[in-house]
């Protein structure tokens, strides 16, 4: 078992260090500096962030971070950041939502079973080919690096609620243009309407923002049923 040491003492000099399952607080400053470590396993350590001490690991080539509730991979954790020799990174079964494109410079990147990962990455990361070790995720990230990335500006607005409560009106109001001074401020009160759900894409340009964002309005068909005995009437009422 590794003993915690004063950081002022000499750094750990070893090639391979397995600290998996160690209850290691990221705020703990008494961990050793891993200057010379080349292979570090800190999986299953309940880490919520990538330990800052890894910034000093310029020699690290293989890092196993899997099975930790980590949500962000910092930019410095890459061959162009502070971990210059990094070639292998495993972030499987973590809470990450995205992958910095700088990681496309690695030789191996594993990110299986990350439920919060953006869909376009997850599609690659969980693929059978990737699990066979074909590097599909890295290849995809390299493609992305060449094509460039941009801010995601797409959301879905889903309206839920009872019938005749004003859901369609809200969509109509939000997708209408702002009224000009000579136009009526009010939408027509009585109108021909169907009970159709809305699945309506809309582009919104906020007055104070440089770029527009795309909204997919949805109003799902169907109904919440609180109990089955009144489900029938409620279903009819809501639809």
């Amino acid at each position: 078992m590794l003993q915690r040491r004063d950081p002022n003492l000499s750094p750990v000099i070893c090639v391979k260090l397995d600290l998996s399952n160690w209850d290691w607080s990221p705020a703990d400053h008494t961990v050793p500096a891993f200057t010379r470590v080349r292979w570090l396993n800190i999986s299953k350590c309940k880490l919520k962030t990538v330990p800052e001490v890894l910034r000093s690991c310029a020699s690290l080539t293989k890092l196993e971070l899997q099975d930790n509730p980590i949500s962000i991979i910092p930019d410095w954790l890459s061959p162009t950041g502070k971990v210059l020799a990094l070639k292998y990174l495993d972030v499987s079964s973590t809470h990450i939502t995205t992958l910095p494109l700088l990681l496309s410079m690695l030789q191996t990147l594993r990110a299986f079973d990350c439920p919060h990962l953006a869909t376009h990455y997850k599609q690659q990361a969980d693929s059978i080919e990737e699990r066979r070790g074909e590097g599909k995720l890295l290849q995809y990230m390299q493609d992305c690096t060449r094509g460039g990335v941009q801010q995601l500006l797409r959301i879905t607005v889903t309206l839920v609620g009872a019938a005749n409560v004003g859901k369609s009106r809200i969509v109509e109001c939000m997708t209408s243009s702002a009224p000009r001074f000579y136009e009526s401020h009010s939408l027509q009160e009585l109108r021909k309407r169907t009970a159709f759900p809305v699945m309506h894409p809309h582009v919104y340009l906020p007055s104070d923002a440089a770029s527009s964002f795309h909204v997919m309005f949805t109003d799902p068909p169907g109904n919440v049923m609180q109990d089955l005995c009144c489900a029938d009437q409620r279903m009819f009422d809501l639809l």
Binding site: Y140, V149, I155, G166, H185, S186, R193, F213, H214, F236
Partner: protein, 323 residues
């Protein structure tokens, strides 16, 4: 509490129409008269309709978010502000709305309900529109902060927005045909897979269990709704479209009868427009019925199963009877 977190039930087919990524849920209730409703509910110990509805839907939201590991924001929106002003109950109703919002926030933490409920007149473009957008924009900013995607993902979304507006483009396709779309075919194989997954998650396309891809979800959702509605929506301002079933066996209809009605309902209904070519129309409605069966909105023939559903209250499920 009448409703607990995660106990909502939803028609199973609805999962196909709910996008599950970066979603802002607007839980809509009627605000006018809310104070009176809540007061009566407190006295009787039975939750008001607005309370029950909001709880049920937020429970549903919780289920969706949990199942998809999705991040979302929810906003409680009360409507009919003009009525509350007219009835001079605005202040009391606003107070009841705020209390309800606090209660829901505590009961459904995973729905990430905003602490600022909205009380709007949805007919009012001058005040209602900016109020709604300000709140949605705030929620969207929180959701999208730090999220970057490859440019082609946004480009594919733009492409689909144009695609659905073109009546000449196919309403469905298979995966190989999807890969031949102008925006998709020039991508690498890996990018194509990611583009497909992203479009599906964002609700631009629907993938059926048999692999068919619905390219115009609005068309499919409209057909699903009329088929799910055995009778009309009780409103004097709404023209409800629904399928007439056999009066001797409510809920039952022949294959031919259903197709005929689905075609007849197209007149002046943008969402359900079919091709003008009679042959293509016939194929479209035929496929539509197949797709509806595919997601369980229609059940073919097994009478025992239908009767079982009917006894559970699912009268909205149709069956084909070939008499």
């Amino acid at each position: 509490m009448h409703s607990r977190e995660g106990d909502a039930q939803l028609a199973p087919a609805v999962q196909f129409f709910v996008a599950a990524e970066n979603t802002v849920f607007l839980a809509v209730i009627k605000g006018a008269g809310l104070y009176m409703q809540c007061t009566r509910a407190k006295a009787s110990g039975v939750p008001s309709d607005a309370q029950s509805m909001a709880r049920s839907w937020l429970s549903y939201v919780t289920d969706v978010v949990s199942a998809d590991h999705q991040s979302c924001r929810s906003i409680l929106v009360a409507t009919h502000r003009d009525k509350a002003e007219q009835d001079k109950t605005l202040e009391q109703d606003t107070q009841a709305l705020n209390e309800l919002c606090l209660e829901l926030q505590a009961a459904y933490p995973r729905a990430r309900l905003s602490s600022q409920p909205l009380f709007v007149n949805a007919l009012d473009r001058k005040h209602g529109r900016p109020t709604l957008w300000a709140s949605v924009q705030l929620a969207a900013d929180e959701l999208l902060r730090g999220q970057t995607v490859p440019k082609f993902i946004n480009a594919c979304g733009d492409f689909m927005e144009t695609y659905v507006q073109d009546p000449s483009t196919p309403k469905w396709c298979n995966y190989q045909e999807f890969l031949q779309l102008p925006m998709v075919k020039d991508l690498t194989l890996n990018q194509q897979g990611s583009a497909f997954a992203s479009l599906r998650k964002m609700g631009y396309i629907i993938e059926l269990p048999n692999g068919t891809i619905i390219m115009k979800p609005r068309w499919f959702a409209a057909a699903a709704t009329v088929t799910l509605s055995p009778r009309g929506c009780a409103s004097d301002v709404a023209e409800a479209l629904y399928i007439h079933t056999d009066p001797r066996s409510p809920g039952f209809i022949t294959d031919h009868g259903l197709k005929e009605q689905l075609l007849r309902l197209t007149t002046g209904t943008e969402e359900l427009e079919y091709s003008r070519d009679m042959n293509i129309r016939a194929i479209e409605v035929d496929k539509l019925v197949q797709f509806l069966a595919e997601i369980g909105i229609l059940i073919r023939d097994p009478v025992a199963k239908v009767l079982h559903h009917a006894s559970c209250g699912h009268h909205n499920l149709f069956s084909f009877l070939h008499f």
